[in-house]
Symmetry: C2
Subunit: 303 residues, 2 copies
DNA sequence: TTGACTTATAACTAATAGTTATGATATAGT
DNA sequence: ACTATATCATAACTATTAGTTATAAGTCAA
């Protein structure tokens, strides 16, 4: 529980944008405008200078922001303290995750967490790393999970689990029985790749380049916009591709896909947990973080 | 601006009654029940033990109450600070007043105040002294104005203006030309009095008894339920009565009533301002209190 | 057990918050 | 200077939340 008007106000103050704030709190922009107008009416003072694109807090706004943060902290603390008394963990945890971890890992983790804490509602929001970081900074989400490196952030970063990018192919493919394949061999096979601009495509190209294989030398037959579509294509024998082992888990179990790793260098990266440095966590979030720390990710992948 | 759910919760916590709280915040009792239920749902904990008629805070309730008070203080402070910046005094002042001061003095005072502070909304609630004290303690009103003595309260009491109870009569009455009348003469004239249980009746009887005139010796012809009805009756020559000079002001000006004071002892009492000892006042209330301090009540009565 | 008192529930209404569609305004690029 | 674009404001409508009246269901005391 917290004050909705003040929450909206704080988000605008932090992002310095009505539209960005609206995105973060999952509201439309006019809704944000109206809430701010209502506050300005209540306090009889303009809270933001909107001279064009640049939005700044007025002195009154600055003042309200200070109080609003304190008020929100009290709300959070009250909830936490009462949670301690009742023993019951209850509330909402909002998680942001980038594609792979959001689609293939978090659903299982969240389900397991909910078995232990049935009164905690979990919201999972899937977006790219940039947005996750932004949402997190503006308190639009409680924690973030991203793949790859996050730098220069005023956020706490912790490795959660590692991820291996593996070669996938149809079980009928000649490589299907081989434990590993040399990177140079990739030029001989039709390769299915993500669209231009995709983060996954970028890291794959970077990896291949590092090992002397330039992207233009690849027989790129198909460009698909999602991991799911790539898997389908590979299952149908249209070519090979590289995806996260987590994303291939189900198909490996069913035997509709086979994997191979690279001879030269294993293609691994980490999934990281991001959170704000603030110590003011809700009881639900606390429980989630503790739960996560002892979560057996290894079992998950091998099961 | 403040949190409505918490406001309702605090009032229930302070009065230890849903129905009494509903009266104080001018809501119906079911509305209060629903708000409390909503809070209990939010925090996943019962906040009150309602075992029969006795309502007590649960440990979770105690805790929330502590936080709620802090939160409300922050809301008030924020409003005040912003008010200081803008210079504009804006908000709501809720005044409780007992009958005479509420009906005959406060309307003028409030009108004058509003000329200087047009952005302050004033709510005036007229009730008996007992209720005023109760509302004030539970923060249902910001200040109270009562006639007569208030004792044993954890409230601040300040004399505002004095009030004289005077004999009123028709201009055609034989006493109309006399500046004062002896108390003993009252037995000879038909006397119009307030109903049993009225505070005004009580103090009149007390005064008369003190001066050796027992209520049963009075020719009590009519018993009326309001000061206005008594004035009408006296204007029509049905008898004489004793009312506050403030209440008779308009009729004295128009000449439809005449007054006399008592020979033996002037019948005076004070109107007092009551407020909580808390220092957390809104900017509007502050302004009102300051305005009141220098208000020329004397001019009011003589004008 | 009844009667007075207090809180809970149900059905309806009022008020508030949010949405879509569109307009206005300021900055950026040609 | 003139579009183009990005961003906030406004309007009309819808959904959600809060409050009301009427009534039921408990408690306690006689």
């Amino acid at each position: 529980m917290q004050d909705h008007k003040l929450k909206v106000f704080c988000t605008v103050a932090e992002t310095k944008s009505f539209s960005k704030a609206s995105e973060i709190i999952r509201l439309t922009q006019p809704a944000v405008s109206l809430q701010i107008q209502a506050l300005e009416e209540i306090y009889g003072a303009k809270l933001f200078n909107r001279s064009g694109c640049i939005i700044t807090l007025t002195p009154a706004g600055e003042l309200l922001y200070k109080y609003a943060k304190d008020i929100n902290t009290l709300y959070t603390d009250a909830e936490k303290e009462i949670g301690k008394i009742t023993g019951l963990v209850k509330g909402i945890v909002t998680i942001g995750a980038s594609s792979t971890i959001g689609n293939y890992i978090m659903p299982t983790v969240i389900s397991d967490f909910r078995k232990k804490f049935p009164k905690v509602n979990v919201h999972l929001l899937i977006s790219n790393t940039k947005n996750i970081v932004e949402y997190l900074n503006a308190a639009g989400i409680d924690v973030g999970f991203v793949e790859g490196d996050v730098t220069k952030q005023k956020l706490l970063i912790e490795k959660v689990v590692s991820d291996e990018m593996v070669l996938i192919m149809s079980p009928l493919h000649t490589w299907a029985k081989r434990p590993y394949v040399s990177i140079s061999e990739l030029t001989r096979e039709p390769f299915i790749i993500r669209e231009e601009g995709s983060g996954t495509r970028q890291i794959i190209e970077k990896y291949l380049t590092k090992h002397g294989l330039h992207p233009q030398n690849i027989k790129s037959t198909l460009t698909f916009g999602s991991t799911e579509s790539i898997k389908s294509a590979v299952e149908n024998g249209l070519g090979v591709s590289i995806i996260s082992r987590w994303a291939a888990k189900k198909e490996l179990r069913y035997g509709t896909l086979k994997t191979a790793t690279f001879k030269e260098d294993r293609f691994v990266r980490d999934f990281s947990l991001l959170r704000r440095k603030t110590k003011s966590f809700s009881h639900s979030l606390d429980s989630f973080l503790v739960y996560l720390k002892s979560y057996p990710f290894d079992k998950l992948l091998s099961s």
